[in-house]
């Protein structure tokens, strides 16, 4: 039987779909019985979503860079 600590250690592999069949079954069995670990996994997924949506700093000099690259390209043709 997987312990909570082991489940946490496997959590990233779970999120990335990298568990072997045997591990997947063990994780599933643990989660079915353990509210705390279910909550942990749910919060890990939420953390992932938060990170995805965290606004990114705007790119400095975007227009200037685009203009320069386009110009270089046109010179090549």
């Amino acid at each position: 039987m997987l312990s909570c600590k082991e489940l946490v250690a496997h959590s990233s592999d779970l999120l990335d779909g990298r568990l072997s069949l045997r591990q997947r079954l063990a994780v599933r069995a643990h989660l079915a019985m353990c509210l705390r670990c279910r909550r942990f996994i749910k919060q890990m997924r939420l953390s992932q979503a938060v990170l995805r949506q965290l606004p990114q700093a705007p790119i400095a000099e975007l227009d200037a860079l685009a203009a320069k690259l386009a110009e270089l390209r046109r010179q090549q043709r």
């Binding site: 312990s3 909570c4 600590k5 082991e6 946490v8 250690a9 959590s11 990233s12 592999d13 999120l15 990335d16 990298r18 705390r36 670990c37 909550r39 942990f40 749910k42 919060q43 890990m44 939420l46 953390s47 992932q48 979503a49 938060v50 990170l51 995805r52 949506q53 965290l54 606004p55 990114q56 790119i59 975007l62 227009d63 860079l65 685009a66 203009a67 690259l69 386009a70 110009e71 270089l72 390209r73 046109r74 090549q76 043709r77």
Partner: protein
């Protein structure tokens, strides 16, 4: 071409259309920067990205569409960075720098492996609701800033740019097991930051 969504943009790039280059930079520079960061570090990353863009334009005619545009751009970036690095390739640092809010470590578990300090329910359960707090955004930035260059890049490439683990290994020349360790530890630090904020309301 196997990647139809790229072909329209590619045609416009080949024609030298400025708006197309703007789109290209806006879409991919973040990921390119993460790759450069991981390989040459923060000090030289911007220069590597600039050089990579020039190489991209130089080689645009040779792009065959055998990979996605994104993979091609990131490969060029990684190659540019590695050339820059020449022989002094850094060791892969697996030592974990401490995050500002810690991680989910051994102290959270009893000797039998059960939770000693289990996570509490959070007040918010959507990313939008969580991110409305400006303080949490700053707090997350701080945590991300505390990661090593390699670890921060691995996290960004996986979580924000959606790269597969294998792609990250190839680009950064780090073994799969190392990428998994780096990623897992980074995620736990992000988790600990959110948890800390949810429990205390402050950073």
């Amino acid at each position: 071409m196997d990647y139809p969504s790229d072909s329209a943009l590619l045609a416009r790039l080949l024609a030298g259309e400025e708006k197309a280059f703007r789109e290209l930079v806006a879409t991919y520079q973040g990921a390119m920067r993460a790759v450069a960061f991981a390989i040459v570090g923060s000090r030289n990353a911007d220069e590597v990205v600039q050089d990579a863009w020039l190489a991209v334009v130089r080689n645009l005619d040779g792009f065959q569409g055998r990979s996605s545009l994104k993979t091609w751009l990131l490969t060029i970036t990684a190659n540019t960075a590695k050339t820059r690095l020449k022989h002094n390739r850094r060791e892969v640092l697996l030592d974990d720098l401490p995050g500002p809010h810690g991680t989910i470590g051994d102290e959270r578990f009893a000797a039998d492996g059960h939770w000693l300090l289990a996570p509490h329910a959070w007040h918010q359960d959507s990313p939008d609701a969580l991110l409305t707090a400006a303080e949490l955004r700053e707090c997350l930035e701080k945590t991300l800033g505390s990661l090593s260059e390699l670890q921060g890049s691995v996290l960004q490439l996986r979580e924000r740019e959606g790269l597969e683990l294998d792609e990250i290994c190839n680009l950064l020349q780090v073994s799969l097991s190392n990428v998994r360790v780096l990623l897992h530890r980074a995620r736990l630090k992000v988790f600990a930051t959110l948890e800390h904020f949810e429990e205390t309301g402050q950073c």
